[in-house]
Symmetry: C2
C-alpha cells in the first residue's frame, strides 16, 4: 500500500507543498518529482535560492514592496512623485506597472485582497498603514489598482470608503482590462492604457 511504499520525507513534502495556494496533491507530487528528476546539484541550487529569498527579502518599511533593502528602490528614489500612491494587491503587480514605464508615483502593497471565501479580512491586509501614510504625508491622489475581479473591486470599494472624506483624489485603474483578468498577467500596452485612462471615483 502507498503508505508503506512512499518515503515519509517525500509524503511530508507533498503534504506541505499542497498547502500552498493553488496547489493540490497532484501538482505538489509533480513539483516534488520534477525537483527529484533534476540534476541534484541544480535542484539544491534552486532550494538554496528559495532559502536566500526567505532570508533576504522582506516588505519595504514604507510601501510593502518586496525588497532586499529597508526602503525599496521606489520609496528611496527622491525623483518619484511623492504625492501619488498606487495601491496594488501584490509586489509583482507593482513590478508589472513599473515595466510600463508610465507611472512615476509611489506604491502601496496590500498583500492580498478581501476574500470572504478564503477568510481574508481587512485586518489581514496592509490597509491601516495606507491610511496612516495618507494622514501623515502630503498625498494628493490614491490610485486603486487592485485586480479587476469581484474581490479586487470589493477591496477597492472598501478602501474608497475609508479615504473618501480626506479631500484627496481617489481613482480606480481604468477598465481597459477585461473583467475577471489578473493584473500581473496583463500585457504592458493594456496596463499602460488602463493607467492613462484612470477615472476619479
Amino acid at each position: 500500500m502507498i503508505e508503506r511504499v512512499i518515503p515519509p520525507t517525500l509524503k511530508n513534502a507533498v503534504e506541505q507543498i499542497s498547502e500552498l495556494p493553488g496547489y493540490g496533491e497532484k501538482s505538489a507530487q509533480r513539483l516534488a518529482v520534477n525537483l527529484l528528476n533534476m540534476p541534484r546539484g541544480e535542484a539544491k541550487q534552486l532550494i538554496e535560492t528559495l532559502m536566500e529569498v526567505l532570508e533576504k527579502i522582506h516588505p519595504c518599511r514604507e510601501c510593502g514592496i518586496y525588497t532586499e533593502e529597508e526602503l525599496c528602490p521606489v520609496c528611496a528614489d527622491e525623483e518619484r512623485d511623492r504625492t501619488t500612491i498606487c495601491v496594488v494587491e501584490e509586489s509583482f503587480d507593482a513590478f508589472a506597472i513599473e515595466r510600463t514605464g508610465k507611472y512615476t508615483g509611489l506604491y502601496h502593497v496590500l498583500g492580498g485582497r478581501l476574500s470572504p471565501l478564503e477568510n481574508i479580512t481587512a485586518e489581514d491586509l496592509n490597509i491601516d498603514s495606507l491610511i496612516d501614510r495618507v494622514n501623515r504625508e502630503n498625498i494628493k491622489e490614491v490610485i486603486l489598482a487592485t485586480n479587476p475581479t469581484v474581490e479586487g473591486e470589493a477591496t477597492a470599494s472598501y478602501i474608497y470608503n475609508l479615504l473618501k472624506n480626506k479631500g484627496i483624489t481617489i481613482s480606480r485603474i481604468a477598465y481597459g482590462l477585461p473583467f475577471g483578468a489578473v493584473l500581473e498577467n496583463a500585457d504592458d500596452f493594456t496596463l499602460a492604457k488602463a493607467l492613462e485612462h484612470k477615472t476619479p471615483i
Copy 2:
C-alpha cells in the same frame, strides 16, 4: 523600471523556478509570492523539507522507485511476486498502482518517457537496467504501464521491441483509461480495472 525595482534574489529565484517543467514566468512568480506571503517560519520549514527530500531520497538500486533506503519497500519485500515487473514512467505512478492493492509484483521506473519534442531519448531513461533485470532474474512477465498518451505508447512500443524475443509475456496496461489521460491522476477503480484487464501484446 522592473530591472531596478525587483530585488535580484527574487528575480533569480523566479528565473530558476520557471525552468522547471510545467512552469512559466507567471507561475514561478506566483510560487515565489506565495512562499513570501506565508508565515516566515512555515515557509522556511517547507524549504527545509524540500532540501531534506533532495538529501534523503534517491532511486531504489533495483527498480528506481524513489526511496530513503538502498532497496525500496517493494524490492525488499520477499512476499512480492518476483517474476513480474510493472514498468512505469515515474515513482508516483507506482505509488498510484500500490494504492489499488491489486498488484503484487515488482516495478521498474523509467524516469520519464520518450519525447522527441523534449529531446528525451532512450539513453535518458532507465531502459538498459530493465533489460538487464529481465536477462538476470527469473522474469516471466513485463507489464508496460506507461501513460496512455502518444509518448507513453511510443515508449511502451520501443520497450516491447527490445523484449519481444526473450520468451516472456509482455502486456500493456488495459485501456480502461481514456486516451490522453495521465496515469497518476486516474481514480483507483479505473486503475485497478486497467490492471485486471491487461492484454498480452
